[in-house]
């Protein structure tokens, strides 16, 4: 089933308190796991997977782009950073 993936991130210039909290936790882990000590920041965004019937044609993609800009993201606080098509909804990395 074709799946359209839309990725949304908080605007780069805005503080991302969620990312900051995760980065803080990684910083504490870094004290015991040296491989993590070079992490300098984390930002947390959203990924939408929209399953569709039939082909992901240009009309459908245009509609999803519009949806991404108007509903899936709020341009005051977020940016759509990627839209792409894959064959199926994502599953765990092997």
């Amino acid at each position: 089933m074709p799946t359209i993936v839309v990725e949304v991130m908080p605007k780069a210039e805005l503080l991302d308190p969620q990312g900051k909290a995760v980065a803080g936790a990684l910083g504490r882990l870094g004290q015991t796991q040296p491989a993590l000590s070079n992490v300098t920041g984390v930002r947390v965004g959203k990924r939408f997977e929209i399953s569709i019937e039939g082909a992901a044609d240009e009309a459908t993609l245009a509609a999803v782009r519009e949806l991404a800009d108007t509903v899936l993201s709020n341009s005051v606080i977020e940016d759509v950073v990627g839209i792409h098509v894959q064959d199926a909804p994502s599953s765990a990395v092997a």
Binding site: L15, P17, Q18, A21, N74, V76, I77
Partner: protein, 232 residues
């Protein structure tokens, strides 16, 4: 005067808002998010809470509710609309107000009595306040940090559309200490703090005079009622 209070799935403060409306002297009309009917009300309150569990973005899904078609239409025709907390978030998501709200700077939910300065007493909901009145009403939210582009911020400041500003410290990282804004016409107001929780002695913030006696929030509701009487 009849003031509608819209209940969304996950609204928490609709009953308190309706009570505030009645204490201020108007009739409260319960409205439902799934209807396309404002039941002939003269003004609207979008109450606080966590509609749709803040999924997607706070207020985003509620802003697409059936009744929002009528709310947006009425607001654009000049009906007074007050969005409190989650209601403020809905008004920004519905593009009735500028800016947006993000998670509090500290990443924590904040619940406390908060000092505010009312900087615009010409909006439909603030005419009862003296110029630059300082008030205390409860603030309780996790995503109350007001954000806007530099250009929008300049416009809001330049046109005097900051309704309320936090005083004695910025609780959540809001740009320019902004706690509430209005639209160009002054009929739509969004506030992060909760006036409906400071309308009755015994249940409001502490004051110098007595515990829990603060009723500064009532003036938002009496303002809109007084305005309706003048307009009539």
């Amino acid at each position: 005067m009849r003031i509608g209070v819209v209940t969304f799935p996950g609204s928490l403060d609709d009953r308190d808002a309706a009570r505030a409306v009645r204490l201020a002297g108007a009739d409260a009309v319960a409205l439902w998010h799934g209807d396309h009917d404002l039941h002939g009300v003269d003004a609207l309150v979008l109450p606080g809470g966590f509609s749709y569990g803040d999924y997607l973005r706070a207020g985003a899904i509620a802003s697409l509710s059936p009744i929002m078609t009528e709310v947006i239409d009425a607001a654009n025709k000049g009906m007074p609309v007050l969005g409190i907390c989650n209601g403020f978030q809905m008004l920004t998501e519905a593009h009735l107000l500028d800016g947006g709200l993000i998670r509090n700077e500290q990443g924590r939910f904040i619940c406390r009595d908060q000092g505010l300065r009312i900087e615009n007493n010409a909006s439909d909901w603030t005419t009862g306040f003296a110029a630059d009145a300082e008030i205390v009403i409860p603030l309780k939210n996790g995503e109350g940090s007001f954000m806007a582009s530099d250009e929008t911020l300049k416009k809001l400041e330049g046109e005097g559309r900051i309704v309320a500003r936090y005083i004695r410290g910025n609780p959540n990282g809001s740009l320019n200490d902004i706690a509430g804004v209005t639209n160009a016409r002054g009929n739509v107001v969004g506030l992060m703090p909760h006036p409906e929780h400071a309308v009755e002695a015994g249940f409001g913030p502490d004051t110098d005079d007595a515990m829990a006696s603060g009723i500064d929030g009532l003036t938002f509701f009496t303002s809109v009622i007084a305005r309706a009487l003048v307009a009539r």
